[in-house]
Amino acid sequence: MIKKVRSHPSQNEALLFERSSPGNGAWQLPELDVPAVDASVALGAGNVRAEIPGFPEVSEVEAIRHFTRLSTWNYAIDHGMYPLGSCTMKYNPRINELVARIEGLAWAHPYQPEALAQGAMEVMARLEAALAEITGMDAVTLQPSAGAQGELTGILLIRALLEKRGNPRRKILIPDSAHGTNPATAAIAGYVVENVKSTDTGVLDLAALARAADGDVAALMVTNPNTLGVFEENIVQAAEILHAKGAMLYMDGANMNALVGIARPGDFGVDVMHLNLHKTFSTPHGGGGPGAGPVAVKKALEPFLPTPRLKRVRGKWAWDFKRKRSIGRVRAFYGNFGVLVRALAYILAHGGPGLRNATVDAVLNAVYIRKQLEPYFDLPYTSPNMHEVVFSDERQAKLGVRTGDLAKRLIDYGFHPYTVSFPMIVHGALMIEPTETEGKLELDQFIDAMISIAKEVETDPELVKQAPHSTRTSRVDEVAAARKPVLRWKPA
């Protein structure tokens, strides 16, 4: 019985270009207080464009209706839980939005004199310090724009240090359970990727690692807890194996939500790691971004961090551009400052004890879900899980229903699907991460929904396979979209 949702009419809405009509506009500029110019004279006749073909012309009313109507076709955290594994879809505190928009912060130009940017620099310095404390590392850069860019920065740092030591080496080891950005990043950094298998309990195989770690290996990229939600119990020994061979340990911090206040990567042998502020630190996903991917390092890697870095000069903050060993810039300016403000607001709101409590609740929620769904879904790895749990669709697959179908049926129950078919080491995976900002009611409704779907698989599999039934659009034809891509609107 579906309790969480009921159908309700939602407005249709055409594309902006289909709603446009000449002569409409939503803008008004003040009158010019300087003489008007003839564009051809000022810019050169050959440089002046004709009008922008097809650009919208709508009134303010139509504009606000257009976007409001479209927004109602979305699911969002503000509606309900996203059980997406490794995404950490926690509540996006509204205070973050308010403080990021304070004029002195929002309108700060990156090139304004340092004496007039002390507030912005203090915010960044405070966040760097907080993240260093949380991760147990020595130095933090806030420059990378997102997790993937943070990863690239981290690997480039490793390369720079190894180069200084005489040999950048050729290979990077990656567990077969890793997120796709990991091997993509290694390749872009110019390394060859070698996969390391997991044990049959789903953790890193130390023997396999020992065999693979030779003088040609620059680093192992690991996620901890791993993508099964299981803590890498051998991480300390793994670090020792790598360090003995002059290699480094990189940690993908995507699953930090299980560790804050409980364990610090810097304490268990990690040399360099990235964080996802849009995961662990509550900055909004906004439909796909922006994010921020700070990188935290041990002392040895500090000299190579991207330029510039904050430094204290005569009691004030200054940007240090004179960093001879730096890998350079990974982006213009200093980082996604607006996202950094939100992350710091989150840290200030929780404080030290609060951050630890959040971690405890995140793990409690995931274990609670595991306990109650275990009777209904196959659990391929039975080690204790932390902030997320991974089931497989094996039982349901026997009746012809796959994880993707179960996920689509979950939509009819009023939830966003969990992560489907990842990690790849679990066939037909269901990867579930509730985060700490889900209360008991929402969790119980999610559990009831999953159990109900498991029962539907036995009594009415077609209902599940054809889901969702209640959404504005039914399943979309992704094959047609890829065969004959239509990537923009064109007039008829």
Binding site: E478, V479, A482, R483
Partner: protein, 127 residues
Amino acid sequence: MYPENFRYTKEHEWVLVEGGIGTIGITDHAQQELGDIVYVDLPKPGTRVEQGRSLGSVESVKAVSDIYSPVSGEVAEINPVLADAPEKLNEDPHGAAWLVKIRLSAPGELPELMTAADYQTYIGAEK
């Protein structure tokens, strides 16, 4: 189902040799595993290929698979049909949806490949 006069690879390609030219495709098993094919990426005529090395790829919505050449040589011709109708690869992988024709440089490579019977055993074992 699997033509006798073809030879097969472990990566699910087939090759038909006639007069020094090897016509290459992917097997019916492969197209089933991939699902609806949306795009085929093929090399330009004149490209040199090596046995066992990738000569292009086949894409479905959710996956990409490299095509490993069963033989070494030079690309003589690519199938013009697949650019506009990649779905033909699902419909007729052993016939109209051949991928490339290669001018063989090392005919001695052929005996290493599987026969139809061997291939059927191989995919039977895989399941």
